[in-house]
């Protein structure tokens, strides 16, 4: 029954409610697929059989009682930065090896309550810092479309799991593009909500003012279903909004009469591959054919986004990661003469190269004498970037561009040069700096590898981003397909 691993939520839900299949069978099909291919894809770090058995049984009981909630029985993978009670959660880092949280975060709790079935924990760059999942403290993940290439990152495990048919949906987190970029590189749908739309409670923080949890799925509609189930105010997250949960409104309203902006700075971004550009051109044409008006917009401070991001995110991370000290949880380096030495050893050994690099950078940017030149300056530039988007949205309803300037690159090709890796996020991190919702949908292939189209919308207009993405999906006929994994 391997075709069960290629279904969307909608299709699976129909079969479950007709009781043509059980949730147990649906899970078993995914587990079988995982057993067959994950040795090569390596999307998962850990599996949670005790959870999937219990949750599948509960789902079947709910279905028998006539429960028609869309997520009941849907197999889900969870990125290793989201705390789940009793399940080892390590943020892809050795420093947290063995850590089992005594609590479950809000987003995951809400999905559990909605009936989703957790299959396991997916790989990611350590503390979500990276764009290829090669910075994992455990092992790299491979792109299901070409195992010699990266799946993108940092949520590469979740993206690869959905792309390879190992999970129907997955959760990721996006701080500078960590959902959208791997979604693009693996040919699935990935969405970052407005900052504050989904509670961050239970998300192991990388950069608190930028982090958001979002879904991976194989259709825009599925992404909307998962997002809607997670979204909404949480008393445990003071930055979560109490705005109405209207993310799925107007999903099927189409783009006729909408104005879609193409920022020239994104369109001609440095290093964009011709194949990517061609796929995006085709997507723009298809949206235009569907009735959208395409307009030029400008985001003049685009060239400064990466620089501002690489101050703000490391600064926040340097503080967020101070709690990893080997005292309350995680790795401890053992016998040191005094506490300072113990900290130094534990953190030198427990953190990987990229994490240490960013902790150093962020500590420097906040340190006495440099705060104004770096951190404060970056915050001001953040204001300019936000204003760019505000101005652009005066002239359009949503902004469309490539998600990543390139298709998936070979493993190892960018690990030596951090800046080349950082440039992967040049089209996505503006959305984080401005707190915007953004989605990446597959828009064809280049050199046999998936290309993603990014739709950015104004804050709290997830509905607009989803509606444009959905209209594109329908007009183009391009669908997220399960990678064959040779």
């Amino acid at each position: 029954m391997s075709d069960l691993t290629e279904l969307t939520i909608k299709e699976a839900g129909r079969l479950l409610r007709l009781q043509s299949i059980s949730a147990g069978e649906l899970v078993a099909a995914h587990v079988e697929r995982i057993e067959r291919i994950d040795r090569r894809v390596r999307a998962f770090l850990r599996f949670t059989p005790e959870l999937w058995e219990k949750q599948a049984d509960e789902a079947d009981a709910r279905i028998r009682r006539g429960d028609t909630a869309p997520l009941v029985g849907i197999p889900m993978a969870v990125k290793d930065v989201l705390c789940v009670r009793g399940v080892e959660t390590t943020a892809g880092s050795q420093i947290l090896s063995g850590f089992r949280p005594p609590y479950t975060g809000t987003a995951v709790s809400r999905l559990f309550a909605a009936g989703a079935v957790m299959l396991g924990v997916t790989n990611c760059d350590e503390f979500a810092m990276g764009s290829s999942t090669e910075n994992s403290g455990y092992h790299p993940t491979h792109n299901p479309w070409d195992l010699a290439r990266v799946p993108g990152g940092s949520s590469g495990g979740s993206a690869a799991a959905v792309a390879a048919g190992e999970a129907m949906i997955a959760l990721g987190t996006d701080t500078g593009g960590s959902i959208r970029q791997p979604a693009a590189l693996t040919g699935v749908v990935g969405m970052k909500p407005t900052y504050g739309r989904v509670s961050r409670y239970g998300l192991i923080a990388f950069a608190s003012s930028l982090d958001q949890i979002g879904p991976f799925a194989r259709s825009v509609e599925d992404a909307a279903i998962v997002l809607e189930a997670m979204a909404g105010h949480d008393p445990l997250d003071a930055t979560s909004s109490d705005r109405p949960n209207d993310v799925s409104r107007d999903l099927d309203a189409g783009v006729k009469g909408m104005r879609l902006g193409v920022p020239r700075e994104y369109y001609d971004v440095e290093g964009i591959e011709p194949g990517v550009k061609a796929a995006v051109d085709k997507a723009v044409k298809s949206l235009s054919d569907a009735g959208a008006e395409i307009v030029d917009v400008t985001l003049p401070h685009t060239d400064y986004g990466l620089a501002a991001y690489y101050i703000i995110a490391p600064a926040e991370c340097s503080s967020n990661l101070a709690r990893f000290d080997g005292v309350k949880y995680g790795m401890s380096s053992g016998d040191a003469q005094n506490i300072t030495e113990a900290y130094q050893r534990t953190r030198r050994k427990g953190f990987g190269t990229e994490v240490r690099r960013r902790v150093m950078l962020g500590t420097y940017a906040l340190s006495s004498g440099y705060y104004d030149a770096y951190y404060l300056k970056a915050q001001k530039v953040r204001t300019l970037i936000k204003r760019d988007f505000d101005a652009a949205f005066e002239n359009c309803d949503a902004i469309i561009s490539a998600t990543s300037p390139t298709v998936a690159f070979p493993l190892g090709s960018r690990t030596q040069n951090p800046l080349s890796m950082y440039l992967c996020d040049v089209l996505t991190l503006g959305g984080n700096l401005a707190g915007l919702p953004g989605i990446s949908v597959p828009c064809g292939m280049s050199e046999g590898l998936p290309v993603g189209l990014q739709v950015l919308a104004p804050q709290w207009r997830e509905g607009v981003a989803l509606r444009v993405a959905r209209a594109y999906e329908q007009a183009s006929g391009v669908k997220a397909e399960v990678a064959p994994v040779g």
């Binding site: 005594p102 113990a342 951090p418 800046l419």
Partner: protein, 97 residues
């Protein structure tokens, strides 16, 4: 502006990151490279621009002063590398002179 070895040592101490042979050169070179890119921020005149610390406007999210149950001592210590008699144990803290 490039980072000196002294600065690397100072920042590593602030961050409580141990330095192993080769680390100083590595950080000095890598961080200087990234800072060279970041220095483009100085081209922008931001004198009259307010900083953005948080990107969406939420204010006054306060919690009512109502206690709720926490963790048991056993759960609190369950993940600790070293716990003794209900305490977390750490190596000596040199303080008094």
């Amino acid at each position: 502006m490039p980072l000196s070895r002294d600065e690397v040592r100072h920042v590593a101490m602030l961050a409580r990151l141990g330095l192993e042979p080769g680390d100083e050169e590595f950080y000095a070179e890598q961080l200087s490279g990234i800072l060279a890119h970041i220095d483009r921020l100085q081209q922008l005149n931001t004198e009259s621009i307010p900083p953005t610390a948080q990107v969406v406007e939420v204010a006054n999210t306060l919690r009512d002063d109502v206690p709720r149950p926490g963790l048991s001592q056993a759960d609190a210590l369950a993940n600790a590398p070293a716990a003794v008699n209900g305490f977390f144990r750490v190596p000596s803290i040199q303080e008094e002179a």
